[in-house]
Amino acid sequence: MKVSMTVNGAAVDAEVPDRTLLVHFLRDVAGLTATNVGCDTTSCGACTVLLDGQSVKSCTVLAAQADGHQVTTVEGLANGDGEMHPVQRAFHAEHGLQCGFCTPGMVMATVSLLAENPRPTEEEVRTGLEGNLCRCTGYHNIVRAVLAAAEGGDI
């Protein structure tokens, strides 16, 4: 079927099989490979992107379901001058990533979390990231990064 969506502000159109998952549309059609697949069961959150501003697991959304909608991936977060988004900056400053595989999904989950709850407590951060697995950081510095980004107030 023909699928058209806006990805990181740019129109992307393609004829794809009906069963195409959004994550594969982003990776293989739009050529945006930052969004990773980490599981088969909607568990790990590595594939998290924003769909109309809300975090979703793009492995469990059909490209067809996103047809006509707005998608944002981690490649689309920095501003036009290439300056990192406050959440990206906080992950860098707080060492909130190691191998980097969960990072795009973790960052996008954080952007959505802070949009809904700009001043979360530590417990709210931990609960808010329950759908994203990280195997490297023990989450400690991720939580600090999210709190630091919230503290910065320029989300």
Binding site: D18, R19, L21, D40, L51, Q65, E116, E130, G131, N132
Partner: protein
């Protein structure tokens, strides 16, 4: 992993959804948020040949007050249920439980109706709907019908809905007693409940204690007979047939049911 091939169809209205379903017959499935169905399809535990996307039927996404009850559109997402001001004040049990489903990403996509139709006995919302004495409104080729929640869940992943019938609305009466509690017992926050208890006043329903959500009738009877919460809760496992899996055997589930019901009744009374 990816689903087996299927044909995707998009419904622009409830009527179109019903006529597409009628054409598709047994091989067709409705796709709402997709967070029950797509995971099964990726594991190829579900292999529908036709998917009818009803996700854009915004007329089925609402929370409103009607004639003394609250009406929730079947396609209202868990996120919207959890954050509805009306539900927060009138049916806090439902709002709270919806906020416990899965994780934020899942709540952004998954819908109340989808969760009920999926009829997973480990699901949170079927038990909540059951304890709230909700009525489910379904539309099919021959019109609309109302199904009491107590009759809706037929078995493991089975409801009384006919093929081609679409759940459109959940109607919930104002509870007679305000106190409520939702006790969800899990290994990790994101897990399905090992056992859960939904309490509204003196009404109690159990999660994952049988092949469907169950009303804890023995508890309710004991309470009606004037038993104290702790004594009533001792009856929580009566009439249940809990499954056994890697997280719990039958004995442990029965024990948890008693503990969670006791805690739920205590908390509900503290909120009354």
């Amino acid at each position: 992993m990816i689903p087996a091939p299927f044909t995707y169809q998009r419904a622009g209205s409830v009527d179109e959804a019903l006529s597409l379903a009628a054409e598709g017959g047994d091989d067709a499935k409705f796709l709402a948020g997709g967070h029950s169905l797509l995971p099964l399809m990726k594991l190829r535990l579900a292999v529908p040949e036709v998917l009818i996307d009803i996700g854009r039927l915004s007329e089925l996404s609402y929370v409103r007050e009607e004639n003394g009850h609250i009406a929730v559109g079947a396609l209202t997402t868990h996120h919207d249920v959890a954050n509805s001001g009306l539900l927060g004040s009138e049916l806090p049990l439902l709002a709270h439980a919806a906020g416990q489903v899965g994780d934020p990403q899942i709540r952004h996509r998954g819908t109340l109706g989808g969760s009920l139709v999926h009829s997973d006995p480990a699901g949170d919302l079927p038990a909540v709907i059951l304890v709230l004495d909700a009525t489910l409104v379904a539309r099919g080729p021959s019109g609309s019908r109302e199904i009491p929640a107590g009759e809706f869940f037929e078995g493991l992943f089975e409801t009384v809905l006919e093929p081609g019938e679409l759940l459109t609305e959940i109607r919930i009466p104002r509870p007679a007693q305000a106190g409520w509690s939702f006790q969800k017992f899990t290994k990790r926050a994101i897990d399905w409940a090992i056992v859960g208890a939904a309490v509204q006043g003196d009404q109690v329903a159990l999660v994952h204690m049988g092949s469907t959500p169950l009303r804890a009738s023995a508890v309710e009877q004991a309470l009606a007979g004037g038993a104290a919460p702790a004594d009533a809760a001792a009856h929580a496992a009566e009439g249940t047939s809990p499954p056994e899996d890697i997280n719990a055997d039958r004995e442990y589930r029965e024990h948890l049911a008693r503990v969670l019901v006791a805690r739920g009744l205590t908390e509900a009374r503290s909120r009354a």
